[in-house]
């Protein structure tokens, strides 16, 4: 395959529709949350990612991607923006450390299976002195990191653009990279959700983790098997719904926030047909072939019902059926929090797929009240 063909393949699969789907579908096979996934994880060799070989191959693939990008005239522009360098570091370091955590977890899991204590275990009486054992490590870490920062600072000048000009809006205007996940959510949700409600829920949800996770095992050592559901949920949110969206927002969003593959030219005039419709239009106009009712509440009734069912009826059904056991062990308060944060988190992929599948703009659309969902 020629290089150009390879690049266009990468461009094509980078589109959020495809890359997000691949990640989501592949995810449970890499972080298997149930026995069934675990079986396939073992059988098809997905577990090899968490071995030394897997880690090295992963790092090499990332490097190959960046090398290819560096020598590509289009990707080079985004890649070498000084403020995008942290994203390169982010991709490397997140991959490496998540790999390291899982690698250590798998080692411990084997020990636990063999009836041994985890690697971290040591005799409570056998302690080491902080001076010198820890103080020196800290000292060395500190010096190495300081050297790294100084070298980085000498090599890469901090960016400074034209003086501020409120009259000239750059296209695209991007938030700092660590907020690009939120800016990417703006494609699917209005600012009151993507910019206010979701960030609040992320912060509260993170803080609630220790109270929602009642699994006592796996405290103080790396393990996957003893906490597989917890790790699966956290990592899905962290890697796919946060880090991945940041990468999309940084590398793949060009003028007018249109999608561009990494090797594509950022064409300001790229035209993307905007044919998104609201649920109310789909229902009243397309399905019933009537006009939109003038009463707002009637117009949006279907959307309200959908949201109500999602937030209030679905959990009750789950309590009665699939999550009966969960409800009993977790109790009402924990279960309600799990539902609030779980359904909140799932709302993002659900809305993404509704947009991609049927061009759905809003489920509830009341621009009159700035209330669009």
């Amino acid at each position: 395959m020629s290089l150009a063909a390879l690049k266009s393949v990468i461009d094509a699969i980078s589109a959020p529709t495809i890359s997000f789907t691949i990640l989501t579908v592949a995810f449970p096979f890499f972080f298997p949350p149930t026995d069934w996934f675990e079986k396939i994880h073992r059988k098809l060799g997905f577990w090899r990612l968490w071995t030394k070989k897997g880690g090295i191959i992963g790092l090499l693939l990332i490097t190959a991607f960046f090398v290819l990008g560096y020598f590509d005239k289009n990707f080079n522009i985004t890649l070498t923006k000084p403020d995008n360098f942290p994203i390169v570091l982010l991709i490397y370091s997140m991959f490496f450390y998540i790999w390291l955590g899982m690698y250590k977890a798998y080692q411990n899991d084997e020990r636990l299976d063999a009836g041994l204590k985890p690697n971290e275990y040591n005799d409570p009486d056998d302690k080491v002195l902080v001076w010198p054992d820890l103080v020196y490590i800290e000292f060395i870490a500190l010096i190495l990191f300081q050297v790294f920062l100084i070298v980085w600072s000498i090599l890469v000048a901090a960016p400074i653009e034209e003086p501020a000009n409120p009259a000239a809006t750059p296209n695209p205007s991007k938030a700092p990279w660590y907020f690009l996940g939120l800016q990417e959510m703006l494609v699917y949700f209005d600012p009151w959700l993507a910019g206010v409600v979701f960030p609040t829920m992320i912060i509260l949800g993170l803080m609630a983790i220790p109270y929602m996770d009642i699994n006592k095992k796996g405290d103080g050592y790396y393990t996957f098997k003893e906490r597989r559901v917890g790790i699966f949920i956290f990592m899905y949110g962290w890697i796919v719904l946060w880090l991945f969206l940041i990468v999309i927002g940084t590398f793949f969003r060009g003028p007018n926030w249109n999608f561009f593959g990494p090797f594509e030219y950022w064409d300001t005039h790229k035209v993307v047909a905007l044919n998104n419709v609201n649920l109310s239009e789909l229902f009243w106009v397309k399905l019933l072939a009537k006009g939109l009712p003038s009463n707002i509440l009637i117009r949006e009734s279907l959307g309200f019902i959908a949201v109500f069912v999602y937030l209030f009826v679905l959990p009750v059904i789950l309590i009665k059926t699939k999550l009966k056991g969960t409800y009993e062990t977790y109790g009402p308060t924990r279960f309600v929090s799990l539902m609030i944060f779980g359904l909140g988190m799932l709302a993002l992929p659900i809305k993404m797929y509704l947009r991609w599948a049927i061009n759905l703009k809003y489920i509830v659309a009341i621009p009159e009240w700035f209330f669009n969902i």
């Binding site: 056998d126 803080m207 796996g218 009240w369």
Partner: protein, 264 residues
């Protein structure tokens, strides 16, 4: 008074001098007792316990990430103070002061150091969170400290965000414009937020462009002179002050929750 023995190595004699002993009271930490004392007797080092289980000092366990987060915070404070010598937070001077920092100031990499360290800190704090999650260290009795950590992470992001505006170039004002535009959609409190219209007395809206949260954040209807001053004050004093309080709680709680987590 004992006469110094000139045959002993210099370092050793220094360790026995009155000056040294007045600073580090246990002398050169050589015996087990002295080494423990070196930690306990120092206001900085006594954040640590004197002894730790073996796994807790291994880089492989903590990845050093919490310690590095703190180190980067200190680093940013120092480079930040140096930057404050030169930088004036006004629309007239901000941009040119930044240019001068690179062109006129000897060893002009302070701005680079500050900016890249800030980016690195966001990454390092995230990696610290991943480590704490992967070792299950948020489980009882450390639930509260995890929450303190989440607040510290939020503060780290806010510090980065407020600092982003200060160079007052196109990158800065537009990134902050995009970011703070969201505030206008805050439910009830933003003038384009759902429910804001409900907060009215008769015909008079309480929440409008000139009174909503975005206005409070920016000190105006758009990113301008007042915003620059507000972000400067928040960036240099307000948020670091809050962050320091939470860090003190964080470190205190690590010790009180039984030190670094480990298997039983």
């Amino acid at each position: 008074m004992e006469k110094p023995d000139n045959k002993k190595p210099l370092l050793e004699r220094m360790g026995e001098s009155q000056v040294w002993k007045s600073i580090i009271r246990s002398g050169v930490p050589r015996t087990r007792r002295q080494r423990m004392h070196a930690i306990l007797g120092s206001v900085f080092l006594h954040l640590h316990p004197a002894r730790l289980p073996k796994h807790a000092v291994k880089v492989g366990y903590t990845w050093c990430m919490g310690g590095l987060s703190f180190f980067l915070f200190v680093n940013l404070t120092i480079t930040g103070i140096l930057l404050m010598f030169y930088y004036r937070p006004t629309v007239e001077y901000a941009f040119t002061d930044i240019i001068d920092l690179a062109e006129q100031v000897p060893l002009g990499i302070m701005r680079e150091l500050h900016r890249w360290t800030a980016h690195a800190m966001v990454l390092i704090v995230w990696l610290h969170m991943v480590r704490v999650f992967m070792t299950g260290s948020y489980k009882p009795p450390r639930e509260f400290n995890w929450g303190v950590g989440v607040i510290l992470m939020t503060l780290t992001l806010l510090l980065s965000f407020t600092g982003y505006l200060l160079p007052w170039d196109q990158l800065a004002i537009w990134a902050v414009t995009v970011g703070s535009n969201m505030a206008r959609a805050t439910p009830f409190l933003g003038h384009e937020g759902p429910g804001a219209a409900l907060l009215a007395i008769g015909d008079i809206n309480l929440i409008h462009v000139g009174s909503d949260v975005r206005f409070a954040l920016l000190g105006g209807r758009f990113v301008g002179e007042a915003t620059l001053l507000r972000f400067y004050v928040l960036h240099c004093i307000g948020i670091p002050f809050i962050a320091m309080i939470f860090m003190a709680v964080h470190f205190w709680r690590i010790r009180k929750d039984g030190g670094i987590s480990g298997p039983l």
